[in-house]
Symmetry: C2
Subunit: 315 residues, 2 copies
């Protein structure tokens, strides 16, 4: 098995954590860094983690994709709100037989990437991780680090388990990152959206942590109803989630420590919300199939209002 | 026409304003005052208004209903969240042939009053007024002062224009309060709820003024969709609002000065929200008739969460 080289586009909590783990496991990793470039270039990366703290005093840090070598696997760990810059970033850094792996939340984000690098070179992944960037180059890993990976095929058609999926998974496992491979990336995306849409959305609208939403009987029902709408959209795309899946998500959230969602953290920092990827695109998917989702619609309308106002307030 | 005596239960902005106007017009008025009793007893009432400022240095102020004389018309101008105390307050102050006039927002609040004083002695009214209590006994009237009045009949059955409606209207007109009489109190309540449910509800959930909601295309649509749900509930009760009524409300709101709703003011002051009267009871009315109102439901769920948390936060 040839050794694969990795590029990390977006060295925040997610990109920084996974990239650092891959480098620590002996793989060749190149980090594209935006605001934190000077710090990461001179001081490297520091990871605090319940699985062991470590520091990488020297990493390959870049501020310009044209200085980077083309890589086998380009991991995109930007917020989806930054995806409009990918047409400039990706072409120089993906090898001809390389692949772009989107480690991002949301729905229908792969097609745009396929337009840039071609359908055959797109993979999607979902991260189940609690991690925060505390300072430039300094990431606090709190819990979980699982990644679900799959090849993207046109219109999210399911496919098999490819050789490259197995090889990338092997690299991740070498880096102590638990991996699950999916033959059906769309199903994986819907599964994650069942959690992401209600909790991310309501956390912003209601200024609330997960435990607060679960602790109030009215919002508990609302969370469940929003999940049911997501399940209904998925069904209309022939992705049928297990009957107990919603209950599983609710139970899981009950057991989580009080948690502020990533969308809420973005909101509080006056960053643009990942609203289109996480709520808008699923809503469009519902509309395209004539699925009635009034509560997701209302959530989207409320978030659009709040996001828009939040961007015009002094930061 | 016999001169009617008036009791005002709740001397806030609404009760204080209308009571003061009635007294100024020469009518006998008795004010039940809660927290502001000492100030109102010693200093009377002061009204600033575009129609002319005036002061009533001496008013009949009471802190205890048992000190008050029974009156012909008992105007209830409390927040509906206080209506649970009315079984104690009303019986001593309504004359045997007197009437209780509820100047409150919401739906299905009259039946409880009918249980206290009997169906034949209940009237409902809706105020179209912008006024704030600035200090104890000091009310700033900003705009409008119209009142729509009607007799209550069991299950909101429509009735005619009664003698007492005409006489009370005459007193109000004498006090320069524009009055409209309604034969169908339920229709009047639904009409007001078309405005109140979306704007009051969303103003709290989105922390927004009316002009902000109208200025954003997404919330503008959401307001309209909530109005459509209110119209649908009304229709299921055979109250058919004019086709252009929603557009009329939207246009009217576009022309209003930026406005913080009363529910928002209550929320910001950590007072309990008039949630059941304004949203919960209409929602129950929808459920009773099998009308699907997902957006009003979601609004109610969100407001219940916010109201509950708002009451547990230090004031």
């Amino acid at each position: 098995m040839a050794t694969r080289s990795y590029a990390i586009v977006g060295t925040g909590a997610v990109g920084g954590f996974y990239g650092a783990r891959l480098q620590k496991a002996g793989l060749e990793v190149h980090f594209l860094v935006d605001r934190d470039y000077e710090v990461v270039r001179t001081q490297g990366l520091r990871i605090d983690s319940p699985n062991g703290n470590f520091t990488l005093p020297k990493v390959n840090a870049y501020h310009d994709v044209h200085q980077m070598p083309p890589c086998d696997v380009v991991i995109v760990a930007l917020k989806t709100t930054q995806n409009h810059i990918l047409p400039q970033l990706l072409p120089p850094i993906v090898k001809p037989d390389g692949v772009v792996l989107l480690l991002q939340n949301g729905f229908n984000i792969e097609p745009k990437i396929a337009e840039i690098v071609g359908e055959a070179r797109v993979m999607g992944g979902l991260c189940f991780i609690c991690a925060n960037k505390i300072e430039p180059g300094y990431i606090q890993h709190i819990d979980y680090s699982d990644v679900h990976l799959g090849d993207y095929h046109a219109q999210y058609q399911p496919g098999g388990i490819s050789e490259r999926m197995i090889e990338i998974a092997a690299n991740f496992k070498q880096a102590e990152i638990p991996v699950e491979l999916t033959e059906d990336l769309m199903l994986s995306r819907w599964k994650k959206l069942v959690w992401n849409i209600p909790y991310n959305g309501l956390s912003v609208v209601l200024n609330a942590r997960t435990d607060e939403m679960m602790g109030n009987p009215e919002t508990r029902v609302l969370v469940k109803e929003l999940m049911q709408e997501v399940v209904a959209i998925a069904s209309s795309y022939n992705r049928h989630l297990p009957d107990d899946y919603i209950q599983l998500m609710l139970d899981h959230t009950d057991q989580m420590r009080p948690y502020l969602t990533s969308m809420k953290l973005d909101y509080d920092a006056h960053r643009p919300l990942e609203l289109e990827a996480i709520v808008g695109n699923p809503l469009q998917a519902a509309i395209a199939h004539g699925v009635n989702v009034p509560k997701i619609t209302m959530l989207y309308q409320q978030l659009k209002f709040l996001d828009s106002r939040n961007q015009t307030i002094d930061k």
